[in-house]
Symmetry: C3
Subunit: 344 residues, 3 copies
Amino acid sequence: MADPRFFSVAKPMRLAELARLSGAELADSSRGDVIVRDVAPLDAAGPDHLTFLDNRKYLDAFKTTRAGACFVRAEMAEFAPSGTAVLVSLNPYKAYALAALAFYPEPAPMPGQGPGAVVDVSASLGEGCEVGPYAVIGAHVKIGKGCRIGAGAVICEGVEIGDNCDIGARAYVTHSLIGNRVRLYPGACIGRAGFGFAIDKTGFTAVPQLGRVIVEDDVEIGANTTVDRGAGPDTIIGQGTRIDNLVQIGHNVRIGKYCVIVAQVGISGSTQVGDFTMLGGQAGVAGHLKIGAGAKVAAQSGVMRDVPDGAEVVGFPAMPMRQYFRQTNYLARMVAAKKGEKDD
Amino acid sequence: MADPRFFSVAKPMRLAELARLSGAELADSSRGDVIVRDVAPLDAAGPDHLTFLDNRKYLDAFKTTRAGACFVRAEMAEFAPSGTAVLVSLNPYKAYALAALAFYPEPAPMPGQGPGAVVDVSASLGEGCEVGPYAVIGAHVKIGKGCRIGAGAVICEGVEIGDNCDIGARAYVTHSLIGNRVRLYPGACIGRAGFGFAIDKTGFTAVPQLGRVIVEDDVEIGANTTVDRGAGPDTIIGQGTRIDNLVQIGHNVRIGKYCVIVAQVGISGSTQVGDFTMLGGQAGVAGHLKIGAGAKVAAQSGVMRDVPDGAEVVGFPAMPMRQYFRQTNYLARMVAAKKGEKDD
Amino acid sequence: MADPRFFSVAKPMRLAELARLSGAELADSSRGDVIVRDVAPLDAAGPDHLTFLDNRKYLDAFKTTRAGACFVRAEMAEFAPSGTAVLVSLNPYKAYALAALAFYPEPAPMPGQGPGAVVDVSASLGEGCEVGPYAVIGAHVKIGKGCRIGAGAVICEGVEIGDNCDIGARAYVTHSLIGNRVRLYPGACIGRAGFGFAIDKTGFTAVPQLGRVIVEDDVEIGANTTVDRGAGPDTIIGQGTRIDNLVQIGHNVRIGKYCVIVAQVGISGSTQVGDFTMLGGQAGVAGHLKIGAGAKVAAQSGVMRDVPDGAEVVGFPAMPMRQYFRQTNYLARMVAAKKGEKDD
């Protein structure tokens, strides 16, 4: 299904193998040798394709799918058409992700250096690294094994990067220590001096920004996103956290593990974000706050005070979801009543 | 008027010629041979200059302008000073744009490759392309005629680009098919994998993003804007649409033709935007929604549900303009009344 | 304290010298020869360290600090532990900034050109400039003394840059005149054509953007920020103004002196911002407005009308701070009362 100009399928696969690698169970074990050749959406899949049903909303599409096989939750299995082999999974979307990755594995780095790559003599690169054209790697930089450094990326003096990282084209990294399996998208800017200055009548005096950025293992940071280094303490992005495009992370910010930070979010200086927190797109968080673990901040919300663990907040200034809807509903009712009066 | 360090006027022009190319009509046809040498704003224009009046607000400036000629609507013509030749147009701003373009035509690409440009042997470029210094063009890339590829731009394997495109410096394009006369501004990032992963207790599993970005003819995409490729379906930017700087377009988004998307807008995954839609600056749209054709979303609004064709919405969550103003007015009145009571 | 991979302390310093360069006064002049070796936060500082107390909130930490010396306001001096030399200052944070800068001076540019730097024969560079690898400097560009041009930066034809500027890696500058001591962070895009076009039924007609960007002395512009050039008038960034990351400045915008514009702010075309104005993160300002001198726009606010000098506004649409809080408090009270009724 995927455009062969950009993607190539690794190989056809047996359902038994796909069940194994995705942690799913084949409902009819006699179908283990059935072969599928690709993944496809429910409505477009044919007999050669593997698909998935994650959202009840698509149950009708599932009942009539022509797919050769489908990941579903146990309670949906009975609705499968007879031609579709059922792979039972607790998390069909994750199972699909793993299967799709088997069909379309990430291309490995191609070890070597592109034209014009500049690697300082004091820098060290692990085995199997691919350095793109015109990438610039500064003095004393340490890069682990199997990394890909994109075209035109700039890795400044002293930066350390772990194994199997993917540093996007034109990314810029300075004053940072980066873990393993980290992915920076193109144009990301990590480690520049934060927005710190003393103000008086004569103008502004820059305050030297003496911290670093620490990016833990398995983090992804989106395209053209900016992460400022600490002013004294470090700016920290916790393990596994996903940061989308065009996000701003201020100096001294500490983000926990496995957070999801959607596009165009802004987090002001010195704020701490707990583990497993989600920030919706364009949300903003003021400085020096604590956002609790597992909290959810709705898109476009403006957080002006601490958020407890597990709380869901929304609006500007952000308040608990229930309170917010009470207020907006009250206002809508009052105005509707007013309008009713007028219409009489 | 324009700084000669950056702009040069092509040549003096006769009013008859300017009327012809702008679709305007010279009120006094005997002035067809009058020459003007440049464009200028109403208040700064002199006898050698062509100007325009689009907004009634500037009528006084028009009455006293020293401009040699001016584009105006028919009903304004009578207010012209005697020294100003009147060019009557239904759309004076567009007429001015066409005239200004005649004075200041876009410089054509200068065919050839700058220092260090890397073009894969399997890539094909049409006639008359200019490839800037350190641009990197990957395997099997196809680029049409008369394109300009800016310094340090990265065009990845398999990408196809039509004729007369302008790909800005340091732009990054992957997994994309791009039409004719498309303009990408510097730092734009088109076609990276979207923000797609399955979540469970063990963390996140990336879902392979197997779609593309389709950019139709005459689209412009602003500086440092990011457009993610589809997850399976494609992300599509319809013909003629203008996208400003620092905008985020999520995976699978489909934007119609001739839309205007102002700076810092964010559109979440799988949302569809109809033709001729306008999104004001910093507006956000949640995922999986339909924004109708001709709809207008006010600046900073947060759209959480479908918007019908032609509707105007505002606020967070976005609601019809009239409802929004009723609510804000109600609240202002209530508070004012309360204040009155207190002051008694 | 700072990581030696990224920072190095210039030299140990005497308190008398630090008092002199920071404009502070040593409370006990007999301690002028005491030596400190570094700066550190209040709670981490030891006898070799200089620290500061700016915020009363940290008074307890001050009372028990082990720091060798501390900048404080006069009224706090009495709480200093006996081991801590007191440096009295009206602005301890600024004094600290100046001292920290003495310990960690900005590295000077290293004159010369990196590999692959392209400097047009008609360009002129002052003494002591450092041009990074693969930077591209166009025809007739003029650059002053002691500038640093980062790796992969692109400075287009005709641009002029003053003395002692720092142009970040991969920054892009066109159609601009830039003052002295200006700092552009990586990925900033300055001077591209603004979002200007005439609209009619046949689509959009681009209006040539014939102005420039004027960046006055001592301005800083953040990473991946975009500043469009004027359409006819210039876009102007006034002296000393600090612009954070991912900000959008539209065409013809005029920003005064010593403004603070926090990350992800957007300012629409032709708006004027007075001197000493502050715009909080993610705030948006519509086009053709006047924001008065010394005004404060709260984070995420949406400014839809002029703001008087010195006013503080908040919300969407932005209104005076007091009015805004009256409205939000009223709504909260009404809803709480309603809830009370229900609970009865």
